[in-house]
């Protein structure tokens, strides 16, 4: 019996429990003598839910726990068998043989590459089925015990509703906690893997080194080519400089035009069209940048007399990224301009200022904090953006301010480091986590500041 089948069995039995509990409670209601419902505390279906929850919940929790502990139980059982005694003691070879034997026993793999694992297959098969049946039996036992207990509790004056509602509230709380759990998971995995990385490569080299040419075998104390300064520079240059040169004027001016000048019809049509720019997948932008924009930029550079223009230049990636960001800048500016009190605008217009003078000298200064917050959010979006730079910017680390040169970014290198067939513990893989940590901390900080700025500014006019 596979895990999925057992899951469906448990859920099916839970449904039967629901029906049974509801039916039993319904007989109380029907046989009640005083009043329409008598002294029955809860509606019948609450009794049904009570039975179903009592039956399913412990069984599911047990299944989950069993899923995580049974593999080690199986391994222990196999290792305690006499045939396992002549396995190599050395950790890596031993683990390889064991995992291969397990894969064959589970049917994921058909033939063994190592002779030792061939011998372990029957052992594994028997251990797996032994613990699987223990798991199934215990799950069903728990399910029936829980269901039976709940069923005997059903009485006319039993407060099934408050019990069920307590479970519902618990479920709601757990659902909310998943967000915290995810954040903690991100933090923990990034910090843990980065710590492993920094035990191989010195953090000093990583943060201040200017040479990025990661070696797969590191020697402690020497330069290993893990200097991330060129990556940080590339990320800032593409995401915070080139992209913003495109996105800020276009986004801000679009917002001003659509809110201040355009007629209602134009606004109604143009706003969704701008939003489409935000909805296009980044892989499409990346393809467009690599296929169409980058060659055009290179031709333009040649026209300007720049001879060493690369086909995977930073400018193409930055421009396309800027276009992607336009809707974000535009909608944030839109919001903050709309939040400026009308009295300020009307006052300026009444003094005889033209519309553009009002916008430039009254609305924009008043809306500036909101616009700045929006730009910070946009920068955080841009430096975390992956596909555009992976497809259009290059893989070579270059510490240069020449927009026609190849420049690589943090996200490109994360992808590059993780796409080889590397062992998880290799410095390449771990370096990707260290870069991820740097990226996470930066974007977290930018988002935090941006939200604070926007919030503070909103309060100022409320």
């Amino acid at each position: 019996m596979t895990g999925t089948a057992l899951l469906f069995l448990v859920l099916g039995l839970g449904l039967i429990g629901w029906i049974a509990g509801r039916a039993r409670a319904a007989t109380f209601v029907r046989s009640a003598k005083n009043g329409p419902r008598g002294t029955v505390n809860s509606l019948p279906y609450y009794h049904g839910w009570f039975v179903a929850i009592c039956a399913i919940a412990p069984a599911l929790v047990f299944m989950f726990i069993w899923q995580s502990i049974s593999p080690s139980l199986v391994t222990n059982m196999v290792l305690s068998a006499p045939a396992a005694a002549d396995l190599p003691q050395e950790g890596f070879a031993r683990a390889a043989i064991l995992s291969e034997a397990r894969a064959i026993a589970q049917g994921f793999q058909t033939a063994a590459f190592q002779d030792e694992s061939e011998k372990l297959v029957p052992l594994y098969a028997s251990a797996l089925s032994y613990y699987k049946w223990i798991g199934v039996a215990a799950t069903l036992l728990l399910l029936f015990a829980g269901g039976a207990y709940a069923f005997t509790r059903i009485k006319p004056d039993f407060r099934a509703r408050s019990k069920v509602e307590r479970v519902v509230m618990f479920g709601l709380l757990v659902a909310s906690l998943i967000a915290i759990l995810t954040t903690l998971g991100i933090f923990a995995s990034l910090i843990f893997e980065s710590w492993r990385f920094f035990s191989m490569v010195s953090p000093f080299e990583f943060l201040f080194g200017t040479e990025w040419n990661p070696k797969s075998v590191v020697t402690p104390g020497a330069e290993n080519g893990y200097g991330a300064i060129p990556l940080f520079w590339g990320t800032i240059f593409i995401g915070a400089v080139i992209a913003m040169i495109v996105a800020i004027p276009l986004g801000l001016m679009s917002a001003i035009f659509l809110t201040q000048y355009a007629s209602a019809t134009v606004r109604k049509w143009m706003k969704p069209i701008l939003e489409i720019l935000a909805g296009v997948p980044t892989v499409v932008y990346g393809y467009f940048a690599a296929l169409t924009v980058a060659p055009a930029v290179r031709d333009f550079a040649v026209l300007l007399g720049v001879s060493n223009a690369a086909s995977d230049n930073a400018l193409a990636a930055g421009i396309v990224m800027g276009v992607m960001i336009i809707p974000l800048v535009s909608s944030m500016s839109d919001d903050s301009i709309a939040a400026v009190p009308n009295a300020m605008r009307d006052g300026s217009l009444a003094m005889g200022a033209t519309k553009s003078e009002t916008i430039k000298q009254v609305l924009l200064p008043a809306a500036l904090p909101g616009v700045v917050g929006g730009v910070l959010l946009a920068v955080s979006r841009a430096i975390g953006e992956t596909m555009i730079v992976v497809m259009a910017a290059g893989y070579t680390a270059n510490l240069t301010a020449n927009p026609f040169a190849t420049i690589t970014t943090v996200t490109v290198q994360i992808v590059a480091l993780l796409t080889g067939d590397q062992d998880f513990g290799s410095p390449h893989t771990l370096a990707a986590f260290a870069l991820g940590l740097a990226l996470f901390v930066t974007t977290f900080f930018l988002n935090y500041v941006a939200l604070r700025v926007v919030k503070k500014y909103r309060e100022a006019y409320e």
Binding site: G171, M253, L274, V280, V283
Partner: protein, 421 residues
Amino acid sequence: MSNAIMNPTPTDWNGQIMQKRIARRYAAERRFKAMGFLAVALSTLFLAFLLFTMLGQGLRGFQRTEIAVDFDFPALTSGTTAASISGPNADAALNSMDVPGIVELAISQQYGEISEGLLTAGAAGNVRQMLIDDTALVTGKQQLWLPVDSRLDVAFKRAGEPAAEQTVSTLAQKDALRTGFNWTFLTGADATDPSAVGIWAAFKGSLMTMAITLMLAFPVGVLAALYLEEYATKNKLTDMIEVSINNLAAVPSIIFGLLGLAVFLTLFGMPRSSALVGGLTLALMTMPVIVIAGRNAVKSVPPSIREAALGIGASPVQVVFHHVLPLALPGILTGTIIGMARALGETAPLLMIGMRAFIPAAPQGFTDATTALPVQIYLWSDEVNQGFVEKTSAAIIVLLIFLLGMNALAIYLRNRFETRW
């Protein structure tokens, strides 16, 4: 200034200086407005340019070039009958017939020395499928149209390599080439030959990934939104939840990929490049979007509804699940669809969890190795072969159609069910 106050002389509005000044200010006004218009126009033009480029290249991807090949089946198969390749033993009979050999023989008989490399790698499979669909073909002489090799395909549609160009012009003189609809593209999987590739495998992988994402992110997101809006008391824990959700909504997607790699693959040992892990990773990414949209929808339900329900004796849980949730559902659904559309176009986290392998068949289960449509686009865009350019654009068209459809559905739902209180 003080002088002006003591001797108030009225400003000469019609004087030359003032008129000039006003003209200048109005010119500045017009320039500013034109700049705003230009910004909107540039953004729109960029979008139009992008879409036209994709359409221009991608539409060719749905077409394929076919070549006429004459098959004298009785001679080629030494008299196989229609009955022998139907029924339960059809597979074995077709295998023993050696379809690839027959195809090779037929084409070399017809086209002589240029026959080398005319057909795409999957052509023998096409013939086999034709024979299964219509077993009567095997009894006579037939002219079948088979897809050509990708080099010739490119050369026939637009400029290709000189050698291929020459072959194509020779064939075109014989009227042996035609353009047909590329069904393989909609039903096939990844292949090394661009004329044999299809998006079905990647698309199915995307659908399965989305199914997992929806099943996890939707309930969790809705429940979390209800908790935060309706029940949470203002305390440290609630603050932490709110900060987490706002932060998660802005975390770069690649970070979720790293989380998936470290936790789901390495720690839990889940199957690499499977729809299950992809769905889990994207669910964590989509959940905050649903929570934020859900909170706004729940917030917009007026308090009078809650008070009325409480007034007739409903419990707080009943108030929310019987009254608030149904009223907020359209808004929640709109947010969910938008979040799902974002997840459908997401590539980077899926690359991190290994969904970039060469997958030549559609996945059968949630734990099978699979790829997703955006990842397939990325993989094809990396290919050197010219034939992949149009396939990549064609796959992009399919992806964009789906995203557009989802967004249109979201807008429709919002307009249809939105209640103004």
